[in-house]
């Protein structure tokens, strides 16, 4: 069931208190981030739950969830490789990195490996152009990518996944 823990509910309250009375809708983006952290993606059930928490209509949540590129509207792999493909990264070799990841994981852009571990996505400029090529992996950036670095990152993810099982 899509339900927040007590701790997360306290966080929601704290966020709502940042805005004037009656403007709790302002908490929508942060609360959707919290929901995605917990459930990995935003199902319609989750979105309805968030609407209830903020006392707004479900449509107001759907509108927002579909507008912003960081919200996942379907399940994604445990590790999502979001590789930047905009100009500054392109001139520093992002295309080769994307090709290499595709080959290495045996998936196309937008796909998830059959074991559910990896998803490959291309994204637009992430504000790391000086440290290109780069990708986002969870909360952090991996920069100055090389094939060797990609190998090491994949290994690291596999190890972490095994350790968490």
């Amino acid at each position: 069931m899509s339900q927040f823990s007590e701790e997360r509910l306290a966080k929601v309250k704290e966020i709502i208190a940042r805005y004037p009375d009656g403007k709790q809708k302002s908490a929508l983006l942060p609360v959707l981030h919290l929901a995605q952290e917990q459930f990995g993606w935003l199902s319609s059930e989750t979105m309805d739950y968030v609407a209830g928490l903020l006392k707004i209509e479900p449509i107001e949540v759907y509108e927002v969830a579909t507008f912003y590129s960081m919200y996942n509207l379907k399940p994604v792999g445990k590790y999502m490789f979001e590789v930047c493909q905009t100009g500054p990264c392109m001139v520093r070799g992002s295309e080769d990195i994307i090709e290499y990841i595709k080959q290495k994981l045996g998936i196309k852009v937008g796909e998830t490996t059959p074991d559910g571990l990896f998803t490959l996505k291309t994204v637009e400029c992430l504000g790391a152009c000086g440290y290109a090529p780069m990708m986002q992996l969870g909360k952090h950036y991996r920069e100055h990518l090389t094939k060797e670095k990609v190998d090491a990152i994949i290994e690291e993810c596999r190890r972490n996944a095994a350790a968490n099982n």
Binding site: Y19, L29, V64, F67, Y68, E124, C129
Partner: protein, 433 residues
């Protein structure tokens, strides 16, 4: 070595933390400001000539003086940390390494504008930075610089960090405000400007991260002294994020009296082009400003040396000049294909259009498609003219400047590199598909 006002302490060990920052002279501007009247602070910022560092270069003091003050209506300061213009990563650097400098500037600006609740809106992908900012906020609060009755002045202020969720358009100030209200990032029609009607319809000033950090040296030195640095209407220092085919990509603070050539070739800055290659072109102010070929980058059409400042970079208008923009400096060497680079930017703008205006929504898609055809050898000569036509029809016909931002790079690429577009049409077999 040029003057450094923002990054002078960036390499001090532990400067991210309060104790070190304070020991190095941090929060002096707040002490000074709290003894002044808000109107006097605005006056100092006006005198400094400080221009908005988000890209538009609007004078900060003037914007502050425009904030409406209707009786009984709260006002807000919002810090624009959405930084998403390709080539731009300077605000990230400030927030990661000098979070207290931003918080210090925010406190002074909040006091000057009468904002008791100030928001930092940061792009969602910078997911680790809110922790850094919140730690700095908590430290500032624990030391009496935030919260109730700051340093016994009677002024209350809280700073909150809000994350976006992946949308370039939310850097446009009215889209940002919509997003902060929990909505899609659809820009509003201006006027009314946010200074009159902003978040929750209250008077709001939106300023860039770097602008707000620069308020600290303005107050410390006094506006008059600050205005003596630089040249003409380019006062103070500017952060430039340099990337692409250069030896030393990174964030540099310049005083605006150095030449573009020195910036590219000096070891203090970009350090030249790798592998002894020649510079082909440069986008000096973030992806939305016109690209310039090497000959127009270093010298203006009049043959004068081009300098790294607002006036000189835009000398010649769009025919032979460009813009300072957000300070995202993108260098392309002789091996790079301008058509292909422009295609990635066209794709970027198509992806980021909010979709409200048809010229922008449809036009960005068409431009991407035609560029893709030309780049892969499927284009016709008439496509180049069609591309020109489309960008002209977008420019000036949309609610917000994203439409212009999408049109300008395409226009400038055709203007200065038309032969490269024609080459693709004439040599389809040599185009990589």
């Amino acid at each position: 070595m040029g003057v450094k006002l923002l990054l002078d302490k960036a390499h001090v060990e532990g400067i991210r933390y309060y104790d070190v920052y304070r020991r190095e002279g941090g929060y002096r501007s707040v002490e000074k400001a709290l003894k002044m009247s808000p109107a006097d602070i605005v006056e100092e910022v006006k005198k400094s000539g400080l221009r908005g560092r988000g890209g538009a270069g609007f004078p900060a003091g003037m914007k502050w003086s425009f904030i409406a003050k209707p009786e009984g209506v709260p006002r807000h300061l919002v810090c624009n940390a959405d930084e998403s213009e390709p080539g731009t990563f300077k605000d990230r650097y400030l927030m990661e390494f000098l979070p207290h400098l931003l918080i210090e500037g925010l406190i002074v600006a909040s006091f000057a504008l009468g904002s008791n609740a100030t928001y930092i809106y940061i792009r969602g992908e910078y997911a680790w930075i809110p922790d850094i900012l919140e730690q700095a906020i908590n430290e500032a609060k624990a030391n009496g610089w935030l919260g109730k009755n700051i340093q016994g002045s009677g002024f209350d202020c809280e700073i909150y960090v809000q994350r976006g969720a992946g949308a370039y358009i939310c850097g446009e100030e009215t889209a940002l405000i919509e997003s902060l209200e929990g909505k899609r990032g659809n820009p509003r029609i201006k006027p009314p400007f946010p200074a009159v009607k902003g978040v929750w319809d209250r008077p709001t000033v939106v300023n860039n991260v770097e602008t707000l950090a620069a308020v600290v040296p303005v107050i410390n030195m006094g506006g008059e002294e600050y205005s003596k640095i630089g040249v003409g209407k380019s006062t103070g220092t500017k952060l430039i994020s340099a990337c692409g085919n250069i030896n030393k990509p990174g964030v540099y603070e310049i005083d605006m009296t150095i030449s573009v050539e020195e910036f590219v070739y000096s070891d203090e800055y970009c350090g030249g082009i790798p592998n002894g290659k020649r510079l082909k072109a440069c986008i000096p102010g973030g992806s939305s400003v016109p690209i310039l070929p090497a000959n127009l980058l270093f010298k203006t059409a009049k043959g004068e040396q081009r300098m790294m400042n607002y006036e000189s970079l835009s000398d010649g208008g769009f025919a032979t000049g460009s813009m300072m923009g957000s300070g995202g400096f993108i260098v392309l060497d002789e091996d790079q294909c301008v058509v292909k680079h422009t295609l990635t930017l066209a794709r970027f703008y198509r992806h980021e259009s909010c979709g409200q205006c048809s010229p922008c929504r449809e036009g960005t898609g068409w431009m991407e498609k035609i560029l893709k055809n030309i780049e892969t050898g499927k284009g016709k000569m008439t496509d180049i003219d069609l591309l020109w036509d489309i960008q002209r029809k977008i420019e000036g016909n949309t609610i917000c400047p994203l439409g212009d931002a999408a049109a300008w790079p395409v226009a400038a690429a055709i203007r200065h590199f038309r032969d490269e577009f024609e080459w693709h049409v004439n040599n389809p077999e040599l185009c990589l598909t």
